[in-house]
Every structure is written in C-alpha cells, then in structure tokens.
C-alpha cells in the first residue's frame, strides 16, 4: 500500500506537499501550521521534470514520497529498530528514532527527511485519517487538483493508468 503518482497528470503544483505538511502539523490548520515552523514538514516533494527530457512526451514533474518498499532498505539500515514494517507500510517510531540518518543513507528515492528535530520524517500514510473514505483517506490524494495521486495497491494504480487522460498536460518550466 502506498501513494502512486500518475505522471501524465502531475503538474508539480505542490498542493500535495502543502496538504501533507498541514496534515502533519499539530493544529492541522494551514495558518497555524505556518507559525509552527519545523514541525509542519511535508513528507513528500514535488520535483520538476528531468533534463534532458525523457524520450517520451514530456512530463510535468513528479510528486515523490516514501515508496513503502518491500524489502525496505531503510528498515535494514535502522540501528534502533524504529524503522519497521507495519501491514506493508514502512513506519518510523519517532520515540525510538535517534536521528542517526542511516535510513537517509539507505533510501534509494531520497524520500526521508533528516529533520532538525533529530527524527526521520517520511510518508506515514496519514494514520490520523484512518477510517476516512475515498480520496480523503490521504491528505495528498485529497489535495491533488488533477487526480494524479492515488493511494492503494498496484492494481489500483494500473486501473488509474488505463484511464484515458482527458486534459492533455502541457509541460511548463518552474524557473
């Protein structure tokens, strides 16, 4: 189970990043979250398209977060046992984490943030949203304006990829 990104639809607009940060803030409110500073850190990141542009039609970017890999290199690397698998998801127990950054070193996607609070931060599949239905189950999925993000298993992602993309995405450059 993880968050997948449909590269035909991603605009790298950043709505998912913002929603993620707000969801992981104490207040879960945008304006208060801004005042909280470091605690409200997004666990996913939008990244502009690569250069040189891929051999296929250009993409708008990618929203990248923890891939909840199995086996997970970060789980092997973790010296405290804080990083562990729970029902397929890779979760860091923030009480156990000592901020050694072995997981940061291990993650092939660069999806773990070595936060100033000395704990590893990454996508935790929105535990506070458990029980919510549909897109609301994950903050990033809910926020995505083009429907590029989907939370679920590979079959769910493949179904999304089979859908014809109605709005053609025109690439644009961030800079």
């Amino acid at each position: 189970m993880r968050i997948y990104c449909d590269l035909r639809r991603c605009l790298a607009c950043g709505a998912c990043e913002l929603a993620c940060a707000v969801e992981h803030s104490r207040s879960k409110d945008l304006f208060q979250a801004v005042l909280e500073g470091e605690e409200a850190t997004a666990r996913r990141e939008v990244q502009p398209p690569p250069e040189p542009i891929l051999s296929s039609p250009p993409i708008g970017g990618i929203s990248l977060g923890c891939m909840h890999c199995d086996p997970a290199p970060c789980v092997d690397a973790c010296i405290t046992g804080a990083m562990h698998k729970e029902d397929g998801a890779t979760i860091v127990d923030q009480e156990k984490c000592v901020g050694c950054w072995m997981c940061v070193m291990a993650c092939p996607f660069g999806a773990i943030t070595p936060s100033k609070l000395k704990v590893a931060l990454k996508c935790d599949l929105c535990p506070d949203r458990e029980g919510r239905e549909g897109k609301a189950r994950f903050a990033c999925v809910e926020a995505c304006p083009t429907g590029a993000l989907i939370g679920g298993e590979l079959e769910d992602f493949k179904k999304l990829l089979e859908e014809e993309v109605v709005l053609p995405i025109e690439t644009y450059h961030h800079r």
């Binding site: 891929l54 990248l64 092939p108």
Partner: protein, 406 residues
C-alpha cells in the same frame, strides 16, 4: 541462537549514546524482551560457540555442549584489534564494542580525570565524545594524519578536527602508541615519538577482526572474514554467514571485502535467513558506508570516500558554507564514492547511483547542486533499465510507459 553476550538483544551502535548519557539502558534494545519467546527461538545467552564441525553438522559450546543443525548461520561478528604493545593487560584499557565495555568504562569514571583514545575512526571518536560528555579530559591519538581516514577525505576530516578541538577534545595525529604505562592500573600512554600522555583510562578503537576462530581449519573458507556468495552461503553447502564476520562481494571494489557495518549486517542476515528457509534471495553486495554525527554535525559517506583511496579519476567538491562539505568521487563515468557533511539529504540518491553502477556523465555537475532530486535520475532509469529491477522502480516504469502511450 547462541550468543556469548548475556544482555538482551541490543543495538550495538547505540552503546555510544549510552556512554554519552544520551540514552538509558532500556532504550538500547533492538527487539522487545520477549522476542525470542514469541518467535520460538531457543536462546543460549552468555554461552560461546567454540567449534563448528561441518562434517558432523555440529556446533560445540564452551562448556562442551554439542548442538546439531540442518543449517547454520555464522553471525559471530568481529572483535576489536589491539596493537601489539606492552601494558594492554593493565586495568583501565578497553575496546569499545559491547554494552559491557560501556558499563565498565562508566564504572571506572570516578577514578578517571584524563582518557586517551587510540584511533581516530568512528568507534574512537564516539568513545571520545561520550567520555567528554561525562566530564573526562580526552585526547584522541591517531596514527593517521587525519581523523576518520577510512570514512572521509582530508577536507571533511579537518572540519571534524576543528569541531572536536573547539569543544575541548585534544586531537593528536601522526601518533603511534608504543606502551601503556602504569603499575597494574593505567597511568598513561607512551607514544613512539617518546611523548607520554597521562591517562587513567585508555580506549582502543583501531579496527575489528572477524571472529572466525570457530571455523579455523575447517572446510569453511575464510580470508579477512568468512567468504560468502550471493546467497550468503559459505563454501560449505549448509553453512551461511552474515554481518561483521562475513566477507561479501563489494559492489564498488568488485571483489570480496569486509564491510563491517550495521545496514550490511542486517541485510545479509535477512537474506541468509530466506535462503536457509528454502526461499531464494539474492544479495547484491555490500559497500562501505556510514552515517554519523558529532556535536550535531552530520556526515554520511559511501564507497571510495576515505583518505587513502586512489582508484578514481575525478573529484567534485563543493563547500557552499563552512560547515557544509560535499565531495563526489568518480571513476570514468561512474560515481564510486561521496562524502556529505552538514547537508546529507541526498545521500540515499547518491548511494543508489554507486550501487547501480550507472553512468552519471550528463548528471555529475548537477549532483551536488540544489535542485538535484530523484526526478533527475529518471532518464537513467529508462536508459539503463536492466539495472533497476526492484518492484518500486518497475512501478515507476509503468507510469512512464503510460506517459509514452498517451
């Protein structure tokens, strides 16, 4: 499971935090206290396996107990190497490997005003910083010209030397120990230069050697460690090895090497177990790598990052700020090593480039710039797709395919 340590399963790297007073004993455990029970593991703690008889599928313990096995995993780790000098048997000389070492050092502290740490590697420096945090006057005596010479280059090492010295830890390089002085108890260390450093405690952090004695003169082939193949299997069909005792294929060096590191050990253990249980799993190989912090300044390095590495063609170094140092080591078109000090977020991406052995010719000048991200690697993913076989990469390929078809 047989272990000569009596303590419940603790994380060895965490003993530095315990020594420094940053973590209490209860926070050192890697698994809950009922772990063995819950997993139906018969644990022989505080018992040492002294001999393996591959022909008879038998392990002999220090008290003569014989245990038979269908499959055996050697995970006996490694032990600190002590220099061949006089005085090692004096009271107050320690390796820094076990929780017991840490506890015994702490127990001596009331008698200790000054300590000398022999060795400027990770273990030595962690011991130094820990003792310093406990109020001891510490001198680190390093035989190399620089600290952390296995892990980083001179540029990064200098940053840490200045940092340690700014905190009051003395660093003396080019110093080889000749004798440990004292009458029954440690009183100091005499260096080859003749200089004498007073100390009531000496910590030796001069590397480790694999604990291979129990398979000495058997069919289990060893060099610097127990040699293992891509299934973590030794030269004997039903004996496997993992961790600091094992010598596995090093993806950077292209030969078998001992990389005595926690992440390598855990991965090897997991893969050995899968193979022992009859499920095939392939170990891609290890590489030297480490992540550590001293006085809150983090450093991560991997591959051919150390002081003495010569097998490279190009270095790219950036020092955007005094406490941020980044270095790439390239051989031909490939990344073969890196050092990141201060800003370490990209370590995993860089390490994956080393592990996959891909060409970074077009990317290399951007790897250390802000704005470098996983997305920048996607053309490489496409171009060298046969190297990216893990499920997560394949799923990304699906997404890219959909783009191509739209």
């Amino acid at each position: 499971m047989i272990s000569d340590e009596e303590d419940p399963l603790y994380s060895r790297p965490l003993i530095s935090y315990y020594l420094a007073g940053e973590l209490p004993e209860e926070k050192l455990y890697y698994r809950p206290p009922d772990f063995y029970e819950r997993n139906r593991i018969e644990a022989y703690l505080g018992r040492r396996a002294v001999r393996v008889e591959p022909g008879a599928n038998r392990v002999i313990l220090d008290d003569g107990t014989e245990l038979r096995y269908d499959r055996l995993l050697l995970a006996t780790g490694a032990s600190p190497v002590f220099p061949e000098i006089e005085g090692l048997d004096k009271r107050g000389v320690f390796g820094f490997r076990t929780l017991k070492d840490a506890k015994e050092m702490l127990a001596m502290l009331p008698e200790v005003r000054q300590a000398v740490v022999l060795g400027g590697g990770l273990v030595g420096l962690k011991a130094a910083v820990g003792l310093h945090a406990r109020g001891v006057e510490v001198t680190v005596a390093v035989s190399s010209p620089h600290l952390l010479s296995q892990m980083v280059d001179a540029g990064a090492a200098q940053i840490y030397r200045e940092l340690l010295e700014a905190h009051g830890i003395k660093v003396a390089t080019g110093m080889k120990p000749a004798e440990i002085l004292g009458d029954g108890k440690v009183e100091g260390v005499r260096m080859e230069s003749g200089e004498e450093l007073p100390a009531q405690l000496v910590v030796v952090g001069k590397g480790v050697r694999a604990n291979m004695d129990l398979v000495k003169d058997t069919e289990v082939r060893c060099e610097w460690g127990v040699l293992i193949d891509e299934h973590c299997r030794t030269s004997v069909e039903n004996i496997y090895a993992a961790g600091d005792v094992a010598q596995s294929y090093d993806v950077v060096r292209g030969e078998r090497w001992t990389n005595a590191l926690w992440p390598c050990a855990v991965e090897q253990g997991r893969i050995a177990a899968l193979n022992m249980a009859g499920k095939e799993a392939v170990y891609q190989g290890s590489m030297g790598m480490n992540s550590i912090q001293f006085f809150d300044l983090p450093v991560i390095s991997a591959g051919r990052a150390g002081l003495r590495e010569r097998d490279f063609d190009e270095e790219i170094i950036r020092r955007p700020r005094k406490d941020v140092y980044k270095r790439l080591v390239l051989k031909g078109d490939r990344l073969v090593g890196f050092v990141l000090v201060g800003e370490v977020e990209q370590a995993g991406l860089l390490r994956s480039l080393i592990a996959k052995g891909v060409s970074v010719r077009e990317l290399k000048d951007r790897l250390l710039e802000p704005g470098f991200s996983f997305a920048q690697l996607m053309p490489i993913l496409e171009r060298e797709r046969e190297k990216f076989t893990e499920r997560e990469y394949l799923e990304l390929q699906e997404a890219l395919k959909a783009v191509a078809m739209s």
